[in-house]
Protein backbone atom coordinates (compact mmCIF):
# COMPACT_ATOMS: atom_id res chain seq x y z
CA UNK A 1 0.00 0.00 0.00
CA UNK A 2 2.88 2.35 0.82
CA UNK A 3 4.44 1.68 -2.57
CA UNK A 4 1.16 2.22 -4.40
CA UNK A 5 0.55 5.47 -2.49
CA UNK A 6 4.02 6.81 -3.33
CA UNK A 7 3.66 5.91 -7.01
CA UNK A 8 0.13 7.35 -7.26
CA UNK A 9 1.25 10.55 -5.56
CA UNK A 10 4.15 10.80 -7.96
CA UNK A 11 1.91 10.31 -10.98
CA UNK A 12 -0.46 13.02 -9.71
CA UNK A 13 2.46 15.39 -9.10
CA UNK A 14 3.83 14.74 -12.59
CA UNK A 15 0.49 15.24 -14.32
CA UNK A 16 -0.48 18.36 -12.41
CA UNK A 17 3.05 19.81 -12.16
CA UNK A 18 2.03 23.21 -13.65
CA UNK A 19 -0.71 23.57 -11.03
CA UNK A 20 1.32 22.34 -8.07
CA UNK A 21 4.71 23.97 -8.71
CA UNK A 22 4.86 27.35 -6.97
CA UNK A 23 7.26 28.83 -9.56
CA UNK A 24 8.35 28.38 -13.15
CA UNK A 25 11.12 25.73 -12.98
CA UNK A 26 13.19 27.41 -15.69
CA UNK A 27 12.86 31.13 -15.07
CA UNK A 28 15.85 32.69 -13.34
CA UNK A 29 15.71 35.24 -10.53
CA UNK A 30 19.27 36.49 -10.24
CA UNK A 31 18.86 38.16 -6.85
CA UNK A 32 17.47 34.94 -5.32
CA UNK A 33 20.57 32.89 -6.15
CA UNK A 34 21.51 30.08 -3.69
CA UNK A 35 18.85 30.91 -1.09
CA UNK A 36 18.38 28.27 1.60
CA UNK A 37 15.03 26.58 2.29
CA UNK A 38 12.54 29.13 3.67
CA UNK A 39 8.99 30.45 3.46
CA UNK A 40 9.14 31.57 -0.17
CA UNK A 41 11.34 28.80 -1.50
CA UNK A 42 10.58 25.67 0.56
CA UNK A 43 13.48 23.67 -0.91
CA UNK A 44 15.73 26.71 -1.54
CA UNK A 45 17.07 27.94 -4.87
CA UNK A 46 19.99 27.06 -7.14
CA UNK A 47 22.78 29.25 -8.53
CA UNK A 48 20.49 30.76 -11.16
CA UNK A 49 17.83 31.54 -8.56
CA UNK A 50 15.50 28.80 -9.79
CA UNK A 51 13.12 27.25 -7.27
CA UNK A 52 14.38 23.75 -6.33
CA UNK A 53 10.89 22.57 -5.29
CA UNK A 54 9.40 23.50 -8.67
CA UNK A 55 12.31 21.82 -10.47
CA UNK A 56 11.88 18.69 -8.35
CA UNK A 57 8.14 18.66 -9.18
CA UNK A 58 8.74 19.06 -12.91
CA UNK A 59 11.65 16.59 -12.73
CA UNK A 60 9.16 13.87 -11.79
CA UNK A 61 7.84 14.06 -15.37
CA UNK A 62 11.20 13.13 -16.89
CA UNK A 63 11.78 10.32 -14.39
CA UNK A 64 8.33 8.82 -14.81
CA UNK A 65 8.43 9.10 -18.59
CA UNK A 66 11.82 7.40 -18.73
CA UNK A 67 10.85 4.75 -16.19
CA UNK A 68 7.63 3.78 -17.91
CA UNK A 69 8.60 4.15 -21.59
CA UNK A 70 12.09 2.62 -21.30
CA UNK A 71 10.78 -0.35 -19.35
CA UNK A 72 7.91 -0.60 -21.86
CA UNK A 73 10.48 -0.93 -24.66
CA UNK A 74 12.36 -3.59 -22.67
CA UNK A 75 9.13 -5.51 -22.04
CA UNK A 76 8.09 -5.45 -25.71
CA UNK A 77 11.51 -6.60 -26.97
CA UNK A 78 11.75 -9.13 -24.13
CA UNK A 79 8.33 -10.63 -24.83
CA UNK A 80 9.04 -10.94 -28.54
CA UNK A 81 12.43 -12.55 -27.94
CA UNK A 82 11.08 -14.74 -25.14
CA UNK A 83 8.23 -15.95 -27.35
CA UNK A 84 10.57 -16.74 -30.26
CA UNK A 85 12.94 -18.47 -27.89
CA UNK A 86 10.59 -20.46 -25.68
CA UNK A 87 7.75 -21.28 -28.07
CA UNK A 88 9.68 -22.12 -31.20
CA UNK A 89 12.82 -23.49 -29.51
CA UNK A 90 15.64 -24.94 -31.61
CA UNK A 91 18.14 -22.60 -33.26
CA UNK A 92 16.17 -19.41 -32.46
CA UNK A 93 16.17 -20.40 -28.77
CA UNK A 94 19.91 -21.07 -28.70
CA UNK A 95 20.78 -17.84 -30.54
CA UNK A 96 18.45 -15.59 -28.54
CA UNK A 97 19.62 -17.02 -25.23
CA UNK A 98 23.27 -16.48 -26.22
CA UNK A 99 22.46 -12.89 -27.17
CA UNK A 100 20.70 -12.52 -23.81
CA UNK A 101 23.89 -13.82 -22.11
CA UNK A 102 25.83 -11.04 -23.85
CA UNK A 103 23.40 -8.41 -22.54
CA UNK A 104 23.57 -9.89 -19.03
CA UNK A 105 27.38 -9.69 -19.05
CA UNK A 106 27.36 -6.15 -20.45
CA UNK A 107 27.99 -3.55 -17.73
CA UNK A 108 24.66 -1.69 -17.54
CA UNK A 109 25.86 1.86 -16.88
CA UNK A 110 28.79 1.59 -19.30
CA UNK A 111 26.46 0.21 -21.98
CA UNK A 112 24.02 3.06 -21.42
CA UNK A 113 26.86 5.61 -21.58
CA UNK A 114 28.19 4.09 -24.82
CA UNK A 115 24.75 4.11 -26.47
CA UNK A 116 24.10 7.69 -25.33
CA UNK A 117 27.48 8.74 -26.74
CA UNK A 118 26.49 7.32 -30.11
CA UNK A 119 22.91 8.62 -30.12
CA UNK A 120 23.65 11.91 -28.40
CA UNK A 121 21.94 13.36 -25.31
CA UNK A 122 18.16 13.74 -25.10
CA UNK A 123 15.20 12.05 -23.50
CA UNK A 124 14.19 9.95 -26.55
CA UNK A 125 17.69 8.51 -26.69
CA UNK A 126 17.52 7.68 -22.99
CA UNK A 127 14.33 5.66 -23.66
CA UNK A 128 16.19 3.77 -26.38
CA UNK A 129 19.41 3.20 -24.40
CA UNK A 130 17.73 1.95 -21.23
CA UNK A 131 15.05 0.07 -23.18
CA UNK A 132 17.62 -1.76 -25.32
CA UNK A 133 19.73 -2.80 -22.35
CA UNK A 134 16.95 -4.24 -20.20
CA UNK A 135 15.12 -6.73 -22.45
CA UNK A 136 17.12 -9.85 -21.61
CA UNK A 137 15.57 -10.43 -18.18
CA UNK A 138 12.04 -10.16 -19.57
CA UNK A 139 12.94 -12.58 -22.38
CA UNK A 140 14.22 -15.08 -19.80
CA UNK A 141 11.11 -14.75 -17.62
CA UNK A 142 8.70 -15.13 -20.57
CA UNK A 143 10.70 -18.00 -22.04
CA UNK A 144 10.64 -19.79 -18.68
CA UNK A 145 6.86 -19.37 -18.45
CA UNK A 146 6.38 -20.62 -21.98
CA UNK A 147 8.55 -23.70 -21.37
CA UNK A 148 6.53 -24.59 -18.29
CA UNK A 149 3.19 -24.05 -19.99
CA UNK A 150 3.54 -24.99 -23.64
CA UNK A 151 3.08 -28.73 -23.24
CA UNK A 152 0.06 -28.48 -20.95
CA UNK A 153 -3.22 -30.04 -22.08
CA UNK A 154 -5.09 -26.79 -22.60
CA UNK A 155 -2.43 -25.55 -25.02
CA UNK A 156 -2.59 -28.83 -26.91
CA UNK A 157 -6.36 -28.52 -26.91
CA UNK A 158 -6.12 -24.99 -28.35
CA UNK A 159 -3.74 -26.25 -31.00
CA UNK A 160 -6.02 -29.17 -31.81
CA UNK A 161 -8.85 -26.69 -32.29
CA UNK A 162 -6.75 -24.99 -34.93
CA UNK A 163 -5.56 -21.93 -32.98
CA UNK A 164 -2.61 -20.14 -34.60
CA UNK A 165 0.74 -19.74 -32.85
CA UNK A 166 0.01 -16.02 -32.43
CA UNK A 167 -3.33 -16.76 -30.77
CA UNK A 168 -1.86 -19.43 -28.48
CA UNK A 169 0.92 -17.09 -27.34
CA UNK A 170 -1.23 -13.98 -26.86
CA UNK A 171 -4.45 -15.56 -25.55
CA UNK A 172 -3.23 -18.59 -23.62
CA UNK A 173 0.42 -18.26 -22.68
CA UNK A 174 0.80 -14.54 -22.04
CA UNK A 175 -2.06 -14.24 -19.48
CA UNK A 176 -0.38 -17.01 -17.48
CA UNK A 177 3.02 -15.27 -17.52
CA UNK A 178 1.57 -11.86 -16.80
CA UNK A 179 2.20 -11.84 -13.04
CA UNK A 180 5.99 -12.30 -12.95
CA UNK A 181 6.44 -9.90 -15.87
CA UNK A 182 4.39 -7.09 -14.32
CA UNK A 183 6.17 -7.55 -10.95
CA UNK A 184 9.60 -7.44 -12.55
CA UNK A 185 8.62 -4.51 -14.79
CA UNK A 186 7.41 -2.49 -11.81
CA UNK A 187 10.68 -3.03 -9.97
CA UNK A 188 12.60 -2.26 -13.15
CA UNK A 189 10.94 1.17 -13.43
CA UNK A 190 12.87 2.10 -10.27
CA UNK A 191 16.13 0.86 -11.80
CA UNK A 192 15.44 2.79 -15.02
CA UNK A 193 14.84 5.98 -13.00
CA UNK A 194 18.18 5.49 -11.19
CA UNK A 195 20.00 4.88 -14.51
CA UNK A 196 18.39 7.95 -16.11
CA UNK A 197 19.42 10.04 -13.14
CA UNK A 198 22.94 8.61 -13.40
CA UNK A 199 23.16 9.48 -17.10
CA UNK A 200 21.91 13.01 -16.46
CA UNK A 201 24.31 13.24 -13.52
CA UNK A 202 27.19 12.30 -15.82
CA UNK A 203 26.08 14.99 -18.27
CA UNK A 204 24.93 12.76 -21.13
CA UNK A 205 21.24 12.44 -20.29
CA UNK A 206 18.60 15.14 -20.15
CA UNK A 207 20.04 18.49 -21.16
CA UNK A 208 19.51 21.87 -19.45
CA UNK A 209 17.34 23.76 -18.83
CA UNK A 210 14.90 20.79 -18.61
CA UNK A 211 14.59 19.94 -14.93
CA UNK A 212 15.79 16.38 -14.24
CA UNK A 213 16.74 15.01 -10.83
CA UNK A 214 20.11 13.57 -11.91
CA UNK A 215 21.05 16.81 -13.65
CA UNK A 216 20.10 18.78 -10.54
CA UNK A 217 22.48 16.59 -8.52
CA UNK A 218 25.35 17.18 -10.93
CA UNK A 219 24.66 20.94 -10.84
CA UNK A 220 24.86 20.80 -7.04
CA UNK A 221 28.39 19.32 -7.06
CA UNK A 222 30.16 22.69 -7.19
CA UNK A 223 28.03 24.16 -4.37
CA UNK A 224 28.01 21.15 -2.10
CA UNK A 225 29.61 23.18 0.72
CA UNK A 226 27.57 26.38 0.51
CA UNK A 227 24.21 25.08 -0.76
CA UNK A 228 23.73 21.44 0.33
CA UNK A 229 19.94 21.74 -0.22
CA UNK A 230 20.64 21.65 -3.94
CA UNK A 231 21.84 18.09 -3.46
CA UNK A 232 19.61 16.84 -0.64
CA UNK A 233 16.13 17.29 -2.15
CA UNK A 234 16.66 15.81 -5.64
CA UNK A 235 18.48 12.83 -4.09
CA UNK A 236 15.69 12.30 -1.57
CA UNK A 237 12.97 12.28 -4.22
CA UNK A 238 14.93 9.77 -6.32
CA UNK A 239 15.23 7.56 -3.23
CA UNK A 240 11.52 7.85 -2.36
CA UNK A 241 10.44 7.25 -5.97
CA UNK A 242 12.61 4.16 -6.43
CA UNK A 243 11.50 2.89 -3.03
CA UNK A 244 7.88 3.39 -4.11
CA UNK A 245 8.31 1.25 -7.22
CA UNK A 246 10.24 -1.45 -5.33
CA UNK A 247 7.56 -1.64 -2.62
CA UNK A 248 4.82 -1.63 -5.27
CA UNK A 249 6.59 -4.52 -7.03
CA UNK A 250 6.83 -6.39 -3.71
CA UNK A 251 3.15 -5.74 -3.05
CA UNK A 252 2.12 -6.93 -6.50
CA UNK A 253 4.18 -10.10 -6.07
CA UNK A 254 2.44 -10.82 -2.76
CA UNK A 255 -0.95 -10.09 -4.34
CA UNK A 256 -0.29 -12.44 -7.27
CA UNK A 257 1.24 -15.13 -5.09
CA UNK A 258 -0.08 -15.09 -1.51
CA UNK A 259 2.48 -17.76 -0.53
CA UNK A 260 5.21 -15.12 -0.95
CA UNK A 261 3.80 -13.15 1.98
CA UNK A 262 5.56 -15.64 4.23
Amino acid sequence: MVGLSIVLLLVIIAIFAPLIAPFDPISRVKEDSLLGPGRTYWFGTDLLGRDILSRVIYGSRVSLEVGIIAVGISVIIGLLMGALSGYFGGASDAIIMRVADIFFAFPYILGAIAIMTVLGPGIINIFIAIGLLGWASFARIFRGSILSIKNKEYIEAARALGASNYRIITKHIFPNSFAPIIVYATMNVGTAIIVEAALSFLGIGVQPPTPAWGKMLSESLDYIDIAPWMMIFPGLVILITVLGFVLLGDGLRDAFDPKMKQ
Binding site: D101, I113, A198
Partner: protein, 314 residues
Protein backbone atom coordinates in the same frame (compact mmCIF):
# COMPACT_ATOMS: atom_id res chain seq x y z
CA UNK B 1 33.51 -32.16 -13.73
CA UNK B 2 35.92 -31.55 -16.60
CA UNK B 3 33.00 -31.69 -19.05
CA UNK B 4 31.12 -29.17 -16.93
CA UNK B 5 34.08 -26.75 -16.87
CA UNK B 6 34.71 -27.12 -20.61
CA UNK B 7 31.04 -26.50 -21.37
CA UNK B 8 31.03 -23.34 -19.25
CA UNK B 9 34.24 -22.07 -20.87
CA UNK B 10 32.78 -22.66 -24.32
CA UNK B 11 29.73 -20.61 -23.31
CA UNK B 12 31.96 -17.67 -22.39
CA UNK B 13 33.57 -17.32 -25.82
CA UNK B 14 30.43 -16.17 -27.70
CA UNK B 15 29.68 -13.72 -24.88
CA UNK B 16 33.09 -12.05 -25.21
CA UNK B 17 32.85 -11.99 -29.01
CA UNK B 18 29.32 -10.57 -28.80
CA UNK B 19 30.34 -7.80 -26.40
CA UNK B 20 33.29 -6.80 -28.62
CA UNK B 21 31.04 -6.81 -31.68
CA UNK B 22 28.37 -4.60 -30.06
CA UNK B 23 30.99 -2.14 -28.79
CA UNK B 24 32.81 -2.16 -32.10
CA UNK B 25 29.63 -1.30 -33.98
CA UNK B 26 28.71 1.39 -31.43
CA UNK B 27 32.11 3.01 -31.62
CA UNK B 28 32.22 2.66 -35.40
CA UNK B 29 28.98 4.53 -35.95
CA UNK B 30 30.03 7.50 -33.78
CA UNK B 31 30.06 10.39 -36.26
CA UNK B 32 33.55 11.45 -35.29
CA UNK B 33 36.78 10.84 -37.16
CA UNK B 34 39.51 9.22 -35.02
CA UNK B 35 42.18 10.72 -37.31
CA UNK B 36 40.78 14.17 -36.55
CA UNK B 37 40.83 13.33 -32.84
CA UNK B 38 44.50 12.43 -32.99
CA UNK B 39 45.73 15.23 -35.26
CA UNK B 40 43.42 17.87 -33.73
CA UNK B 41 42.23 20.91 -35.67
CA UNK B 42 44.20 22.34 -38.54
CA UNK B 43 45.34 19.02 -40.00
CA UNK B 44 45.45 18.93 -43.80
CA UNK B 45 43.09 16.53 -45.62
CA UNK B 46 46.14 14.65 -46.91
CA UNK B 47 47.54 14.15 -43.42
CA UNK B 48 44.14 12.93 -42.22
CA UNK B 49 43.82 10.52 -45.15
CA UNK B 50 47.34 9.21 -44.55
CA UNK B 51 46.66 8.59 -40.88
CA UNK B 52 43.32 6.90 -41.66
CA UNK B 53 45.09 4.57 -44.09
CA UNK B 54 47.89 3.89 -41.61
CA UNK B 55 45.40 3.07 -38.81
CA UNK B 56 43.26 1.02 -41.17
CA UNK B 57 40.12 2.96 -40.23
CA UNK B 58 39.34 3.69 -43.87
CA UNK B 59 38.62 -0.03 -44.33
CA UNK B 60 35.13 -1.58 -44.04
CA UNK B 61 33.79 -2.44 -40.57
CA UNK B 62 34.26 -6.23 -40.90
CA UNK B 63 37.90 -5.84 -41.98
CA UNK B 64 38.60 -3.56 -39.02
CA UNK B 65 36.82 -5.96 -36.67
CA UNK B 66 38.77 -8.95 -37.93
CA UNK B 67 42.03 -7.07 -37.52
CA UNK B 68 41.07 -6.04 -33.99
CA UNK B 69 40.10 -9.59 -33.01
CA UNK B 70 43.39 -10.93 -34.36
CA UNK B 71 45.21 -8.41 -32.19
CA UNK B 72 42.98 -9.26 -29.23
CA UNK B 73 43.78 -12.96 -29.41
CA UNK B 74 47.48 -12.11 -29.35
CA UNK B 75 46.90 -9.92 -26.28
CA UNK B 76 47.01 -6.54 -28.02
CA UNK B 77 44.13 -4.21 -27.16
CA UNK B 78 45.18 -1.50 -29.59
CA UNK B 79 46.38 2.09 -29.16
CA UNK B 80 44.46 4.95 -27.53
CA UNK B 81 43.37 7.73 -29.91
CA UNK B 82 43.79 10.33 -27.18
CA UNK B 83 47.00 9.40 -25.48
CA UNK B 84 48.84 7.56 -28.26
CA UNK B 85 49.71 4.87 -25.71
CA UNK B 86 48.82 1.20 -25.80
CA UNK B 87 45.48 0.39 -24.20
CA UNK B 88 47.20 -2.43 -22.32
CA UNK B 89 49.47 0.04 -20.53
CA UNK B 90 46.60 2.47 -19.76
CA UNK B 91 44.51 -0.30 -18.23
CA UNK B 92 47.51 -1.76 -16.39
CA UNK B 93 48.06 1.69 -14.87
CA UNK B 94 44.46 2.13 -13.64
CA UNK B 95 43.33 -1.41 -12.83
CA UNK B 96 45.27 -1.76 -9.56
CA UNK B 97 43.31 1.20 -8.10
CA UNK B 98 39.98 -0.39 -8.98
CA UNK B 99 41.02 -3.80 -7.68
CA UNK B 100 42.19 -2.32 -4.36
CA UNK B 101 38.93 -0.40 -4.00
CA UNK B 102 36.95 -3.54 -4.89
CA UNK B 103 38.72 -5.53 -2.18
CA UNK B 104 38.13 -2.77 0.37
CA UNK B 105 34.42 -2.80 -0.59
CA UNK B 106 34.24 -6.61 -0.39
CA UNK B 107 35.77 -6.59 3.09
CA UNK B 108 33.10 -4.11 4.24
CA UNK B 109 30.42 -6.13 2.49
CA UNK B 110 31.46 -9.31 4.29
CA UNK B 111 31.91 -7.78 7.74
CA UNK B 112 28.86 -5.50 7.84
CA UNK B 113 26.59 -7.64 5.65
CA UNK B 114 27.20 -10.89 7.54
CA UNK B 115 26.97 -9.23 10.95
CA UNK B 116 23.73 -7.42 10.11
CA UNK B 117 22.21 -10.55 8.56
CA UNK B 118 23.13 -12.78 11.51
CA UNK B 119 21.87 -10.30 14.13
CA UNK B 120 18.67 -9.86 12.14
CA UNK B 121 18.07 -13.64 11.97
CA UNK B 122 19.02 -14.44 15.53
CA UNK B 123 16.95 -11.56 16.91
CA UNK B 124 14.05 -12.19 14.56
CA UNK B 125 11.19 -9.62 14.78
CA UNK B 126 13.20 -7.50 17.25
CA UNK B 127 14.09 -3.83 16.88
CA UNK B 128 17.42 -4.83 15.31
CA UNK B 129 15.71 -7.09 12.79
CA UNK B 130 13.35 -4.28 11.78
CA UNK B 131 16.26 -1.85 11.57
CA UNK B 132 18.22 -4.16 9.25
CA UNK B 133 15.17 -4.96 7.11
CA UNK B 134 14.13 -1.32 6.69
CA UNK B 135 17.63 0.04 6.16
CA UNK B 136 18.54 -2.61 3.57
CA UNK B 137 15.30 -1.87 1.67
CA UNK B 138 16.16 1.82 1.63
CA UNK B 139 19.86 1.38 0.79
CA UNK B 140 19.16 -0.56 -2.42
CA UNK B 141 17.04 2.39 -3.62
CA UNK B 142 19.67 5.07 -2.95
CA UNK B 143 21.59 6.30 -6.01
CA UNK B 144 25.22 5.45 -5.17
CA UNK B 145 26.57 8.78 -6.35
CA UNK B 146 24.13 10.62 -4.08
CA UNK B 147 25.21 8.49 -1.13
CA UNK B 148 28.80 9.32 -2.06
CA UNK B 149 28.01 13.04 -2.08
CA UNK B 150 26.24 12.84 1.31
CA UNK B 151 29.26 11.04 2.80
CA UNK B 152 31.60 13.61 1.26
CA UNK B 153 29.66 16.50 2.77
CA UNK B 154 29.21 14.86 6.16
CA UNK B 155 32.58 13.23 6.83
CA UNK B 156 34.78 15.25 4.50
CA UNK B 157 33.39 18.75 4.63
CA UNK B 158 31.45 19.22 7.87
CA UNK B 159 33.32 16.90 10.24
CA UNK B 160 36.65 16.99 8.39
CA UNK B 161 37.44 13.43 9.45
CA UNK B 162 38.17 11.96 6.04
CA UNK B 163 39.43 13.20 2.66
CA UNK B 164 36.57 14.16 0.32
CA UNK B 165 38.04 12.62 -2.83
CA UNK B 166 41.12 11.38 -4.64
CA UNK B 167 43.65 8.67 -3.90
CA UNK B 168 46.16 10.90 -2.06
CA UNK B 169 49.03 8.90 -0.60
CA UNK B 170 46.95 5.71 -0.83
CA UNK B 171 46.42 5.42 2.93
CA UNK B 172 43.33 3.75 4.38
CA UNK B 173 41.54 7.05 5.06
CA UNK B 174 41.24 7.63 1.29
CA UNK B 175 39.53 4.26 0.83
CA UNK B 176 36.85 4.56 3.52
CA UNK B 177 34.24 6.78 1.84
CA UNK B 178 34.48 5.35 -1.69
CA UNK B 179 34.54 1.79 -0.33
CA UNK B 180 31.40 2.39 1.77
CA UNK B 181 29.69 3.97 -1.24
CA UNK B 182 30.68 1.13 -3.55
CA UNK B 183 29.76 -1.56 -1.04
CA UNK B 184 26.45 -0.05 0.13
CA UNK B 185 24.05 -1.92 -2.14
CA UNK B 186 26.02 -5.17 -1.84
CA UNK B 187 26.02 -4.92 1.96
CA UNK B 188 22.23 -4.71 1.84
CA UNK B 189 21.94 -7.78 -0.43
CA UNK B 190 24.41 -9.81 1.67
CA UNK B 191 22.56 -8.88 4.87
CA UNK B 192 19.21 -9.88 3.38
CA UNK B 193 20.51 -13.15 2.02
CA UNK B 194 22.38 -13.96 5.24
CA UNK B 195 19.18 -13.32 7.20
CA UNK B 196 17.11 -15.68 5.09
CA UNK B 197 19.71 -18.48 4.87
CA UNK B 198 20.43 -18.17 8.59
CA UNK B 199 16.73 -18.37 9.46
CA UNK B 200 16.48 -21.49 7.32
CA UNK B 201 19.55 -23.02 8.96
CA UNK B 202 18.29 -22.17 12.45
CA UNK B 203 15.03 -24.03 11.80
CA UNK B 204 16.82 -27.36 11.26
CA UNK B 205 16.57 -30.25 13.72
CA UNK B 206 20.31 -30.38 14.34
CA UNK B 207 20.15 -26.85 15.73
CA UNK B 208 17.48 -27.94 18.23
CA UNK B 209 19.75 -30.88 19.11
CA UNK B 210 22.71 -28.56 19.57
CA UNK B 211 20.67 -26.38 21.95
CA UNK B 212 19.42 -29.50 23.74
CA UNK B 213 23.04 -30.57 24.30
CA UNK B 214 23.46 -27.35 26.22
CA UNK B 215 25.63 -25.46 23.76
CA UNK B 216 25.68 -21.68 24.02
CA UNK B 217 23.85 -19.60 21.44
CA UNK B 218 27.18 -18.24 20.25
CA UNK B 219 28.42 -21.76 19.48
CA UNK B 220 25.17 -22.91 17.90
CA UNK B 221 24.96 -19.90 15.61
CA UNK B 222 28.67 -19.44 14.94
CA UNK B 223 29.59 -23.08 14.47
CA UNK B 224 26.55 -25.11 13.46
CA UNK B 225 24.15 -22.77 11.66
CA UNK B 226 26.77 -20.52 10.09
CA UNK B 227 28.42 -23.29 8.04
CA UNK B 228 25.27 -24.10 6.09
CA UNK B 229 24.00 -20.55 5.92
CA UNK B 230 27.22 -19.25 4.42
CA UNK B 231 27.31 -21.20 1.13
CA UNK B 232 24.80 -19.07 -0.86
CA UNK B 233 26.27 -15.90 0.64
CA UNK B 234 29.78 -16.89 -0.48
CA UNK B 235 28.37 -17.27 -4.00
CA UNK B 236 26.86 -13.80 -3.86
CA UNK B 237 30.11 -12.28 -2.61
CA UNK B 238 32.08 -14.09 -5.33
CA UNK B 239 29.83 -12.70 -8.06
CA UNK B 240 30.07 -9.26 -6.50
CA UNK B 241 33.85 -9.39 -6.50
CA UNK B 242 33.69 -9.98 -10.26
CA UNK B 243 31.31 -7.05 -10.73
CA UNK B 244 33.18 -4.64 -8.42
CA UNK B 245 36.61 -5.42 -9.87
CA UNK B 246 35.37 -4.09 -13.16
CA UNK B 247 35.58 -0.65 -11.70
CA UNK B 248 32.71 1.47 -10.59
CA UNK B 249 32.03 4.31 -12.98
CA UNK B 250 29.80 6.36 -10.69
CA UNK B 251 31.69 5.86 -7.43
CA UNK B 252 35.05 6.50 -9.09
CA UNK B 253 33.70 9.61 -10.82
CA UNK B 254 32.23 11.12 -7.63
CA UNK B 255 35.39 10.42 -5.63
CA UNK B 256 37.81 11.26 -8.42
CA UNK B 257 39.30 7.79 -7.97
CA UNK B 258 41.95 7.00 -10.61
CA UNK B 259 40.51 3.56 -11.37
CA UNK B 260 39.45 1.89 -14.56
CA UNK B 261 35.76 2.84 -14.20
CA UNK B 262 36.50 6.54 -14.36
CA UNK B 263 39.04 5.94 -17.14
CA UNK B 264 36.39 4.15 -19.19
CA UNK B 265 33.84 6.90 -18.57
CA UNK B 266 36.30 9.57 -19.72
CA UNK B 267 37.23 7.43 -22.73
CA UNK B 268 33.57 7.19 -23.78
CA UNK B 269 33.17 10.95 -23.50
CA UNK B 270 36.39 11.48 -25.48
CA UNK B 271 35.31 8.94 -28.13
CA UNK B 272 38.49 6.98 -27.43
CA UNK B 273 37.15 3.75 -28.94
CA UNK B 274 40.19 1.48 -28.37
CA UNK B 275 40.19 2.27 -24.62
CA UNK B 276 36.40 1.79 -24.35
CA UNK B 277 36.40 -1.52 -26.19
CA UNK B 278 39.59 -2.87 -24.62
CA UNK B 279 38.57 -1.81 -21.11
CA UNK B 280 35.11 -3.30 -21.45
CA UNK B 281 36.47 -6.59 -22.76
CA UNK B 282 38.69 -6.93 -19.70
CA UNK B 283 35.82 -5.87 -17.43
CA UNK B 284 33.38 -8.38 -18.94
CA UNK B 285 36.06 -11.09 -18.95
CA UNK B 286 36.70 -10.65 -15.24
CA UNK B 287 32.96 -10.74 -14.60
CA UNK B 288 32.32 -13.92 -16.58
CA UNK B 289 35.45 -15.64 -15.25
CA UNK B 290 34.37 -14.89 -11.66
CA UNK B 291 30.96 -16.31 -12.58
CA UNK B 292 32.67 -19.40 -13.91
CA UNK B 293 34.79 -19.84 -10.77
CA UNK B 294 31.70 -19.46 -8.57
CA UNK B 295 29.83 -22.01 -10.72
CA UNK B 296 32.73 -24.46 -10.52
CA UNK B 297 32.95 -24.11 -6.74
CA UNK B 298 29.21 -24.61 -6.53
CA UNK B 299 29.32 -27.65 -8.80
CA UNK B 300 32.14 -29.04 -6.68
CA UNK B 301 30.10 -28.51 -3.51
CA UNK B 302 26.88 -29.81 -5.01
CA UNK B 303 27.28 -32.71 -7.50
CA UNK B 304 23.65 -32.37 -8.64
CA UNK B 305 24.60 -29.21 -10.55
CA UNK B 306 27.37 -30.74 -12.64
CA UNK B 307 25.27 -33.78 -13.53
CA UNK B 308 22.10 -31.88 -14.27
CA UNK B 309 20.51 -32.55 -17.64
CA UNK B 310 21.16 -29.70 -19.99
CA UNK B 311 18.07 -27.60 -20.53
CA UNK B 312 17.65 -26.65 -24.20
CA UNK B 313 19.10 -23.25 -24.96
CA UNK B 314 20.77 -22.81 -21.62
Amino acid sequence: MLYFILRRILQIIPVIIGVTLILFILMYVIPEDPAQLILQKGATPEALANLRAKMGIDRPLHVQYWRYMRGLFSGDLGTSYRYGRSVNSILAQHYPYSIRLAFAAIILEIIIGLFAGIVSAVKKYSFWDSLVTISTTIVVCVPVYWLGMILQVTFGLKLGWLPMSGYGDGSIKYYILPAITLASVSIAYVARMMRSTMLEALSNDYIVTAYAKGLSQFKVVGKHAMKNALIPVVTLVGLDLGALMGGAILTETVFNWPGVGRTLYLAVLQRDAPVVIGGTIILVSIFVIMNLIVDIIYAWLDPRIRYEKREPGL
